[in-house]
Amino acid sequence: MNQQAQAVEPPVGTDRQGMDYLTSLPRRVVTVYVPLGAFLFVLLFPFYWMAITTFKPNEELLSREGNPFWVKNPTLAHIKKLLFETAYPDWLLNTMLIAGVATFLSLFASVLAAYSIERLRFKGSRYVGMSIFLAYLVPPSILFIPLAAIVYKLQLFDTRLALMLTYPTFLIPFCTWLLMGYFKSIPYELEECALIDGASRLQILVKIILPLAVPGLISAGIFAFTLSWNEFIYALTFVSSSEAKTVPVGVVTELVEGDVYHWGSLMAGALLGSLPVAILYSFFVEYYVSGLTGAVKE
């Protein structure tokens, strides 16, 4: 894609802004590179700090002498402590399982709902579409109290299932909204041809629409997975035993004990909990960005 874009662009350093080549290099350094460098430094510094703290031995962490930006004697002690003396591996597994199931469930429900609203155009589908958009705007922080009561009544309290079933409430509206946009771009004629050839609606959905909407499915899936991975308030409220916790909640509630903070293992926990989403994201950046901006633009 990049190569194509470059081929289309006119030569001699012009870019899409047209007149940028008129600005001199020193001016460009001051107006573009310096501020951009400052932005990148501030945005990335916490991650660097997380990583460097993870490998620092305690003596270096708690000393004000020497250069704090580098490690003299790197150690794996904090990671070892995290993996073998805490329930961290359980939390990691829980998070993956919960995020995976919630994503799958939401995609399933959203594909059907989006197809139904956008292509079947049944009576009242416009209003359903509107209410899905409104549902997207309901924040979890006003829902968690009544949801806790419902989860308790359904005897799901302190189970992973409670999170798998409640995460779709913020995932389905988002995924449906995103997929509706993708389905809209598929020509009706394809569907009509298949109908004339005797295909059922379900066959059309599975064999024609879904293959064409794969980029949309990936966008929605990646987005849903990272949102579930990052969820905090439901996981904090609905789960109380250590074995069922997710990474964000486990790190915040269990690794902080008393007044002595184990910064090394806390940072190791934050780093290891962030890496899986960061890696997943790095493979699908384009899909993620198109999901993010698509949802805003629609």
């Binding site: 916490p46 709902a113 609203i117 009544p146 990272t226 993620y288």
Partner: protein, 306 residues
């Protein structure tokens, strides 16, 4: 058997009926875990329910109590302050970053990818990193400022009311700027370069191009992005819960953290639900704002208002 399957088959060919069948999984999940709790939450706000004890209708008692409660008033002030300051700064910095990223840059795709990192990493976990950066004894910021001779003792970032407010706002801005920047960048990329060429031929300065070309064309998307940003910020929970739990002296309590404290830690579900319900009017105002922003978009693109 045969007739049954044809009846079923004919029914499934009817798109109105099939539409409802396809809608079923999403509708069940959303009605049970979104619409019902939304109603239940509002109802709970008018009862004196405690954890483990069903409550009775008490009318406006919760709201009357909360209106006179100094902690709730402080939380309302904090939430508005937090939202207004963080949103304005996020907008200015986000727009600036978007304009920078829209220029011709080496490694553009790579830079855009890493800019979004703060947004995709779990907020609770990056908040822990900020907790460490803000530590009263080992803060790296204090260390640097000491070395540069700007301060003479370590700053207590999260221990003083106003310092804590600004520290949490800074962390929120750090997390929110990438979202604003990347969304606005997508909007910038839809503006045709020919407008800028025409403007510069007419002798428009760089500032005039920004003021009279970029800004008006970007307004609709700014409205939507900022509505989302305001919604997220107003209902923020994780950052405060991890960094300060509302302290010191309730100076960083937001409506969401206060309702968690009253309902879950304190056990007064009714009171907590009332605080959550009190957030709804503010959210509705933001959504209406977004609605009119979207309407404006239709005619700006040459379409008609519906």
């Amino acid at each position: 058997m045969r007739t049954q399957s044809t009846v079923l088959g004919r029914a499934l060919d009817n798109r109105h009926l099939l539409g409802l069948v396809f809608l079923l999984p999403a509708a069940v999940l959303l009605l049970l875990f979104l619409t019902y709790p939304l109603g239940l939450g509002t109802w709970l706000g008018f009862t004196d329910t405690k954890i483990g004890r069903p409550g009775v209708w008490v009318g406006l008692e919760n709201f009357e109590f909360l209106w006179g409660d100094s902690v709730t008033r402080l939380a309302l002030f904090n939430t508005l302050f937090y939202t207004v300051v963080a949103s304005i700064v996020k907008f200015v910095l986000g727009l600036w970053l978007a304009l920078l990223l829209n220029k011709h840059l080496p490694f553009k795709a790579f830079i855009r990818a890493i800019v979004l990192l703060p947004f995709i990493v779990p907020t609770a976990l990056s908040a822990i990193a900020f907790w460490w950066i803000y530590d009263s004894q080992f803060s790296i910021i204090s260390w640097v400022l000491m070395r540069m001779g700007i301060i003479h003792e370590y700053i207590d970032f999260l221990g003083q009311p106003w310092a804590a407010r600004f520290s949490t706002i800074a962390a929120n801005i750090w997390r929110g700027v990438p979202f604003v920047a990347i969304s606005l960048l997508a909007g910038l990329q839809t503006i045709s370069p020919s407008y800028y060429e025409a403007a510069s031929l007419d002798g428009a300065s760089e500032w005039q191009q920004f003021r009279f070309v970029t800004l008006p064309l970007l307004t609709p998307i700014i409205a939507v992005v900022m509505t989302f940003s305001v919604l997220f910020t107003f209902t923020d929970f994780q950052l405060i819960y991890v960094l300060t739990r509302g302290g010191p002296l309730n100076s960083t309590h937001l409506m969401a953290t206060l309702s968690f404290q009253r309902a879950i830690s304190g056990g007064s579900l009714g009171e907590g639900a009332a605080i959550a319900t009190a957030m709804v009017p503010f959210l509705l105002a933001a959504i209406l704002f977004s609605y009119f922003g979207l309407q404006r978009r239709a005619w700006q693109q040459g379409g008609t208002d519906k």
